[in-house]
């Protein structure tokens, strides 16, 4: 009986649209925002934590930013459970590549693998698409630092700067106006935090709601990834003239 409705989830509407995919995309637009910036010195991610209850037992690692391998990280927007599954898939895929070729997986290949899976759920099987969008950032020897976004449709694109999630339209137009070629990491961080604060409802952001990290190469030429601690986030906000709300 329910089979009558199953085929509808992945069928075209009369005007050639996939309604389920569009609904999934809408879901992302309600989720906590994420910003990614590509600079000459590396990549920075800034995101807003979805839930920030004082009752929540804060885990040591992030709920939004994940390491996929030593040379690539991702940020999640949308349904956490859907994202976690895809993150597990990417990690295994990256390790399998490393096992076969004894090398870092090219970022685009990793992104494509995840997106191929997402696309499958928009065409086959009658199951709903993944309600998760990602920003992938990393370094490989072919294209150096790269930033990609992917959405529930399975589409992906490379960016210089991108915002996804809540108020991404406003954030993206802000990025378009203010992005410059040849920025340093510091300038990238400034731009990211300004764009992020554009998406958040309050005018006085609190550091515990924000998560900011960056990937860059150190003097030895090694790739390092660093997440800003609360004090550093506070300094970054104050440097950009935001009135910071103190934690109660």
């Amino acid at each position: 009986m329910s089979r009558r409705y199953d085929t509808k989830t992945n069928a075209f509407s009369s005007d050639g649209r996939l309604m389920q995919v569009e609904n999934a995309l809408e879901g992302i637009n309600q989720a906590g925002s994420s910003i990614g910036i590509l600079t000459d010195e590396g990549i920075t991610f800034a995101c807003e934590r979805d839930v920030s209850s004082s009752l929540l037992e804060l885990s040591k690692h992030s709920e939004k930013i994940f390491c996929l391998d030593r040379h690539v990280h991702c940020v999640v927007s949308g349904l956490a459970a859907d994202a976690n599954l895809l993150i597990e898939v990417s990690r295994v895929h990256s390790q399998r590549f490393r096992y076969s070729y004894r090398e870092n997986i090219p970022i685009q290949e990793l992104v494509r693998h995840v997106c191929d899976i997402k696309q499958r759920y928009t065409q086959v099987g009658g199951q709903r698409p993944f309600g998760a969008a990602f920003l992938f950032g990393g370094w490989d020897k072919t294209f150096k630092f790269q930033l990609y976004s992917s959405d529930p449709s399975g589409n992906f694109a490379g960016w210089k700067a991108i915002a996804i999630g809540k108020n991404h339209v406003a954030a993206n137009s802000f990025l378009k106006e203010n992005y410059q070629e040849g920025m340093t990491m510091t300038q990238g961080l400034d731009l990211a935090v300004k764009a992020l604060c554009k998406t958040i409802d309050t005018t006085n952001p609190s550091p515990d709601k924000l998560e900011i990290m960056y990937m860059t190469k150190n003097e030895a030429g090694e790739l390092v990834a660093k997440t800003l601690n609360e004090k550093e986030v506070l300094e970054l906000l104050q440097r950009n003239n935001f009135q910071v709300k103190q934690k109660e």
Binding site: K60, H61, C67, L68, D69, E88, R91, V92, Q95, R96, R98, Y99, R102
Partner: protein, 203 residues
């Protein structure tokens, strides 16, 4: 001839005072022909874990890659480092996964858990032996045992341990036609990992 003797090799590991050392020869052979003199048999799995492998060379390479694969995924999922005792178990279970088509390797795991040295050896299908003092592997294994028994004592300091392992390796592998052609010793202390290359006679 046994499949374990095809490529040749000698690995020796010994506990010291809050430190541990593992040494291996550098020969890669095809029965009596020597093909390479810088073949890697000791792998740094983590800051405080080393894996030495004797046996068939292709399996040495593949098995170390499989352990690295599993260790990386553990780090990514758990967001923490693997304890040496956990790695010891991981090697054992991985070997047993291939119970009916085993890797022809003789692994030695060497680690420092909270400053305490850990050594484990296995047969090719995962039977673990936690040794108290030293471990050997490879075609030169039996020859290395004698020297280990002679030179081992409790709480050898780090600088001395490197020397001892080096001498044991050189003398032991000298007696084995299939092992030798250089040596490398890894010394693991709580501060760092020190790698020393040994020069040998060209035999």
């Amino acid at each position: 001839m046994s499949i374990f003797d095809y490529n040749g090799g000698g690995i020796v590991a010994m506990k010291g005072k809050n430190c541990i050392a593992i040494g291996a020869d550098r020969r890669l052979g095809q029965q009596m022909k020597t093909v390479s003199t810088n073949f890697k048999k000791i792998f740094r799995m983590q800051d405080n874990i080393l894996l030495g492998l004797g046996g068939l060379a292709t399996d040495i390479e593949t098995f170390s890659a499989e352990m690295e694969y599993k260790l990386n995924l553990y780090n990514l999922r758990e967001n923490r480092k693997l304890k040496p005792t956990a790695f010891v178990s991981l090697v054992s279970s991985t070997l047993y996964e291939h119970r009916w088509g085993p890797y022809f390797v003789s692994p030695i795991v060497v680690g420092l858990q909270d400053g305490t040295p850990v050594i484990s050896t296995y047969d090719s299908i995962g039977c673990t032996t936690d040794t108290e003092n030293f471990a050997v592997a490879g075609t030169a294994g039996e020859l290395l045992y004698g020297l280990c028994e002679t030179y081992y004592r409790e709480d050898i300091p780090a600088e001395e341990l490197v020397e001892i392992i080096g001498q044991i390796l050189l003398a032991g592998c000298d007696r084995d036609a299939l092992a030798g052609w250089g040596g490398v010793v890894y010394l693991l202390t709580t501060d760092n990992l020190h790698i020393r290359e040994l020069k040998t006679k060209q035999t």
